[in-house]
């Protein structure tokens, strides 16, 4: 068996793959958080619960309506996105003029309520969700077996992340979004319906979390706590990347997934804490984050 730095290559590539998969979810979730924070000035603690709702929504569609994975990828982000829009219109819209802290508390409370409700009805043991038939099995790369579904998750999340980046950085719609992130009042004074744009942005960010939830359902089980476990790491990713930076969120998400995977190979004891250690170091050296700008 071949080895690199005394580690079997199979174990190394296996952990790198897991790192990339985790990184895909970190990237998609932190991207949504960054977009929401940039425009709404809200630290969306409900993000993990909305990711969990995405997974549950896919599960319900399959169990009760026979709607499979591929349609779920389309339907679930819209359904959960609409719940986000309702939350924004009825609750978050009242908080924009206040300190970040109020939005954080409200969304944190909502997350606890949602997780509590789902735990109450579905317990804390996970529900299974099958990998779609088209993506079962794996591809033999010679040095390792690459499960097709995992390859799909990595590619799909890259496409989603880069697509989002493109829309924000290279289109007229994105220019409105970037401008409103800097000076909401002025953009509205130019005749743009900024309140509507804010509502749709929140819906989009929430939809992105739900999409990640659907993609996660076949890998991790569908579980009321799945978001709570992930969101803490994702917040660390956002802090490291820099709040409000789109490309920063994507790169940091994938990068930290890989770092975490590699840590599992070389020093497994630290694999659960390595991201937080990096966060502390980044906060000490560059408080605005690797890609963030000082405000």
């Amino acid at each position: 068996m071949t080895e690199i730095f005394g580690v079997p290559t199979q174990a190394l590539f296996g952990q790198l793959l897991i790192g990339l998969i985790n990184g895909s979810f970190y990237a998609m979730l932190s991207l949504g958080l960054a977009v929401i924070f940039g425009l709404l000035n809200i630290i969306n603690f409900t993000h993990g619960a909305q990711y969990m709702m995405g997974a549950f929504c896919a599960y319900f569609l399959l169990e009760f309506a026979g709607v499979g994975y591929w349609w779920s990828l389309l339907i679930v982000p819209m359904v959960v996105g609409i719940t986000g829009i309702v939350v924004e219109r009825t609750m978050l819209a009242r908080l924009y003029k206040l300190d970040h802290l109020y939005g954080l508390l409200l969304t944190f409370g909502l997350a606890l309520i949602l997780q509590g409700l789902f735990t109450n009805y579905y317990g804390s043991s996970g529900l299974p969700y099958r990998i779609p038939n088209e993506l079962t099995g794996g591809i033999d790369l010679g040095f390792m077996l690459l499960p097709k579904y995992r390859a799909w998750v990595i590619v799909a999340s890259l496409v989603v992340c880069l697509g989002t980046w493109f829309v924000i950085e290279r289109t007229k719609l994105g220019a409105y979004l970037r401008a409103a992130t800097e000076n909401r009042a002025l953009v509205q004074a130019f005749g743009v319906n900024v309140p509507r744009m804010i509502t749709l942005t929140y819906g989009f960010g929430v939809g992105l979390a739900a999409l990640a939830g659907v993609m996660a359902a076949p890998i991790y089980q569908v579980n009321p706590q799945m978001g709570a476990n992930l969101i803490i790491v994702v917040f660390a990713v956002v802090v490291i990347g820099g709040m409000g930076s789109i490309l920063g969120a994507i790169l940091t998400g994938f990068g930290l997934g890989i770092v975490e995977g590699l840590t599992k190979v070389f020093y497994p004891e630290a694999s659960n804490t390595v991201i937080f250690v990096i966060m502390v170091i980044v906060l000490l050296i560059k408080p605005a984050g690797l890609f963030g700008k000082e405000r």
Partner: protein, 249 residues
């Protein structure tokens, strides 16, 4: 012969002599502080009118109130006969009013071209990009630069240029000459004259009343959140002593 008189002086909204903008008893607040205490003035279509006054007299707040971006305002602001005081700022902009803020409001995360094209077209009849480049040739060479990398003068040109595209007929300009070199102040003065010739109506906030005298038809002097006086530009010379008193210069 009363008929000749009435036909010669048509009345009612939208006609030449009715004010395009009519502000009546305008009050505005920022949180607890009451900034405007019953501001009343008119701007007629095609006029260039300035608001003069010391710092803190309420000039900027008046512009922001017209644009609908103060937290709280009361009274009446009619544009082209339509009441706007309860409308959101995006609705006000869509009626054909455009605002160039004192701090210029150039977006750092947008390049010059994106900044220029950002404000949506609200009506027909705005300037084309070519006409804007003709007014401000500097902008054409800097299109891909980051908006805030421009010099102060260029940023001011961008801030004015981008609202000329939209088809807005009433331009609210807040201290467009502040902190700029004399040669650029002159360029902005010429621009305002050309815009007036093209039929734009301009409400200008100025500290620099020597500049204001070169471009404006009338001046409203503001003091402590009220309009204290109105001076036609032709009578500016005769009112110099009074003006010095108001402005404290």
């Amino acid at each position: 012969m009363p008929d000749a008189l009435t036909t010669a002086r048509p009345a009612g909204p939208g006609t030449a002599t009715a004010p395009l903008l009519s502000v009546r008893d305008l009050n505005a607040w920022y949180g607890e502080s009451h900034i405007l205490h019953g501001v009343t003035f008119d701007v007629r279509a095609g006029e260039v009118v300035t608001l003069l006054g010391r710092n803190g007299a309420g000039k900027t707040t008046t512009l922001r109130s017209i644009m609908g971006i103060v937290p709280r305002r009361e009274g009446s602001i009619a544009y082209d006969g339509q009441e706007t005081v309860r409308l959101a700022s995006n609705r006000i902009a869509r009626m054909g009013i455009a605002y160039c803020p004192e701090e210029r409001g150039i977006f750092a995360s947008l390049n010059v071209e994106e900044n220029l094209l950002l404000p949506p077209i609200v009506r027909d009849g705005g300037l084309s990009i070519e006409q804007i480049f003709e007014l401000f040739p500097n902008l054409k060479e800097r299109l891909s630069s980051q908006g805030t990398k421009l010099s102060g003068g260029e940023q001011q040109m961008l801030a004015i240029g981008r609202i000329l595209r939209t088809g807005a007929r009433l331009l609210l300009l807040d201290e467009p000459t502040e902190g700029l070199a004399p040669v650029i102040v002159q360029q902005i003065g010429r621009t305002i004259a050309r815009l007036k010739a093209q039929g734009f109506t301009i409400l200008l906030v100025e500290q620099n009343f020597r500049f204001a005298a070169t471009v404006a038809d009338r001046h409203y002097v503001m003091d402590h959140g009220r309009v204290a006086d109105m001076i036609p530009n032709s009578e500016l010379g005769a009112n110099m002593a009074k003006l010095h008193d108001y402005l404290g210069v």
